[in-house]
């Protein structure tokens, strides 16, 4: 089955450039503004959109994304509303891939089968679930693949050559390489180490490899994108959003533009990169 993710990466490969992947939290700072922001991303240069599913206990996230999740929850965000957000986005855009990223519990409580049906029909293309390693593939990965959704796995610096085949076995869409051992928003990765790691993963798979964690500036985005099929930026965008809010954490007239402008400048960085050697 071909998803929007597969199509998008095939197009980018033809154009000889890497993908710019954005991450923002669903419902941050409120559901309506969040939809406006996400709608603005493709025209600002986002090739793939990751949307965070808010969770009270995001164990792999740093302070910025933790706070974004809490803002969204405070604004009444739920998993159901996250799917509505995707549905809203799909009214105007049927090409940009949407990947939901988060933790397993809200999906488990929603009901795995029902979630997969609803996510597919809302226009979701892939899932990244931080706390579902290959050892727990029966839970969601295998049912998601059956439902026609990509299950995108995280590979990390601790995933050695012995373990990589297990991590890649049921991965589809792309591989998300977490460039550092650490949480989101931590220090930037060294681009030569990333280059080696991406090459190592590519020896095991034909899937595109995107790199995330620690990318904040157009320069780093360019450096990383020149070694990989895509660069993911999350915390920097979430911070730009947060800095545009008023003292009570509510959206202002500047909020959508603040995210769109940073997206555009990061996208320029990525587009300036030479596509990684295949």
């Amino acid at each position: 089955m071909t998803t929007r993710i597969d199509i998008r990466f095939a197009e980018l490969a033809k154009q000889g450039r890497s993908a710019f992947v954005t991450f923002l939290m669903a419902g941050d700072p409120d559901p309506a503004t969040s939809l406006e922001i996400i709608k603005a991303l493709p025209k600002s240069g986002a090739d793939v959109i990751e949307i965070g599913m808010p969770f009270t206990d995001p164990m792999a996230d740093g302070p910025s994304i933790q706070a974004a999740g809490l803002r969204a929850l405070k604004a009444g965000m739920t998993l159901k509303k996250t799917l509505e957000l995707v549905r809203g986005f799909r009214k105007d855009d049927n090409a940009t891939p949407i990947v939901l990223m988060g933790y397993y519990n809200p999906i488990y409580i929603y009901g795995v089968d029902k979630f997969l049906v609803d996510a597919k029909s809302a226009g979701v293309d892939g899932l990244i679930i931080v706390d579902l390693p290959p050892e727990e593939d029966d839970e969601l990965c295998l049912p998601a693949m059956k439902a026609g959704l990509n299950f995108i796995r995280l590979a990390t610096p601790t995933t050695d050559d012995k373990r990589l085949p297990a991590v890649l076995a049921n991965t589809s869409g792309f591989v998300y390489y977490v460039s550092i051992t650490g949480i989101t928003g931590a220090a930037a990765a060294d681009s030569s180490a990333v280059s080696e790691a991406v090459a190592r993963i590519k020896r095991h798979t034909k899937l595109p490899v995107c790199v995330g964690f620690g990318i904040r500036t157009p320069e780093t985005a360019r450096a990383i994108a020149s070694h990989a099929n895509g660069a993911v930026v999350g915390t920097a965008l979430v911070d730009a959003l947060k800095n545009s809010l008023d003292a009570d954490g509510r959206a202002t007239a500047k909020t959508v533009n603040a995210v769109a402008e940073l997206t555009a400048s990061l996208a320029q960085g990525v587009k300036g990169a030479q596509q990684a050697a295949e």
Binding site: T158, V178, T181
Partner: protein, 405 residues
């Protein structure tokens, strides 16, 4: 419950860390290789007689084991029913049962060549035990503790610092034990190369629930032998408090296949089960958090809810996965005690036996006050007195003088 009874209640978990549907390994990929290493190291250590011999030496001469099984004569007379024995885990070095598990994990960390130890703590008992053994073995120690708990358990914070540990107050989320665990996991993901995460309870990803249980089972094994010696038979019932459930699992596990032994776990009912509480089994349902599937307090969207208990050590919205399984299968009976009931028990035991219990086991004593009078005088009831109350003296003193609630 329509679940077939197993041949043994003691054979779990399966090779993937499952107790029925509970348990598992729900962790980030960064941690997965380390968790597999830990499992291997633990399997090798268990099979190594030198590991056990070294542990036994420290348990005897450093921890002060075996802990006594004490007949609480005046409490028994006062309640007028079952004959009540206290398993005196509060007499261990560091003042609680936590040291049993920490010793085992620190010895594993040394075998694995890890020089930096992190831990989460609620009441501070696990933090103190970890800081103590890190001092003893010359290891770096960082303890994550919710900012709310840092306030209400000051004596333990000071102790940890005196022992050379760094105590990090956690300001995220509800600023209690669950957030301390999140922060410890974030540290672990960041420093995975040199760091051993010493988990304090029978929760977290496999193999933690199993190895913590195994290290704590010395409580039940000793109890069995001691009761045989004084009464010539098995006890009739066991009672222990439950936050994550390590002291309870340690007492219960060796008795699970003795069908004559009634087993009671006591969760913290806080202000009452219809209000803020920390009773995951009474008020929660199965979900996935902190590496395992287990009973959790959460809302309809799967968001984790705030727990509340007067006792920082029980103030956690989950419970160890093996307890969830023992509940579903009906082997252990899970009850709950409120803040007020625990406070009353705290005072009763202090005045009748000259033993000031920690607020955590005061919850177990509170249920003993209900259960014991309904039992015959030859009924042998064992309560795990899992910790001493020194750390709670300032907090309880303030409450009793009406200064805070």
């Amino acid at each position: 419950m329509n679940i077939a009874k197993p041949n043994s209640y003691r054979s779990g978990p399966d090779e993937r860390g499952h107790f029925g549907i509970f348990g598992g390994r729900f962790v980030a990929e960064t941690l997965m290789p380390l968790i597999l290493d830990l499992e291997k190291a633990y399997t090798a250590a268990k099979a190594d007689p030198a590991f056990q011999a070294e542990m036994n030496g420290y348990l005897k001469n450093y921890v002060g084991r075996p802990s006594p099984l004490y007949f609480a004569e005046r409490l028994t007379e006062h309640l007028g029913g079952a004959k009540i024995y206290l398993k005196r885990e509060e007499l261990n070095h560091t003042g609680s049962h936590k040291v049993n598990n920490v010793l085992g994990q620190i010895m594993l960390a040394r075998r694995m060549g890890k020089k930096r130890i992190i831990a989460e703590t609620g009441a501070g008992q696990h933090g103190v035990a970890t800081a103590t053994l890190c001092a003893r073995f010359g290891l770096e120690c960082v303890v994550y503790m919710g900012a709310v708990d840092v306030e209400r358990q000051q004596p333990n914070v000071i102790r940890m610092e005196m022992l050379g540990a760094k105590v990090v107050p956690v300001q995220s989320g509800t600023r209690t034990l669950k957030d301390a665990m999140n922060e410890a996991l974030r540290d672990w993901v960041t420093n995975v190369h040199n760091t051993f995460y010493c988990i304090g309870t029978v929760a977290g990803p496999h193999p933690y629930p199993t190895l913590v249980r195994d290290f704590q089972s010395i409580i039940g094994n000793e109890t069995k032998a001691q009761m045989q010696e004084v009464e010539g038979r098995l006890p009739d019932s066991l009672v222990a408090c439950i936050g994550g459930g390590s002291n309870a699992m340690g007492l219960f596990h060796p008795f699970l296949d003795d069908p004559s032994v009634e087993i009671f776990g006591v969760e913290a009912a806080g202000h009452g089960l219809t209000q803020l509480h920390a009773a995951s089994i009474a008020g929660g349902r199965p979900g996935v958090l902190h590496g395992n599937r287990t009973y959790l307090l959460m809302d309809a969207d799967g968001q984790i809810q705030d727990a509340h208990s007067i006792s920082a050590g029980l103030d956690y919205p989950g419970i160890g996965p093996e307890h969830s399984w023992l509940h579903e299968i009906g082997r252990v009976n899970y009850l709950s005690a409120t803040d007020d009931e625990a406070l009353a028990a705290f005072q009763l035991l202090s005045k009748l036996e000259g033993i000031i219990p920690a607020l955590e086991p005061a919850h177990a004593i509170a249920k003993v006050m209900e259960l014991a009078p309904k039992r015959a005088k030859d009924h042998l009831m064992v309560v795990n007195l899992s910790g001493r109350g020194d750390k709670d003296v300032p907090q309880v003193g303030d409450i009793l003088r009406g200064k805070s609630k």
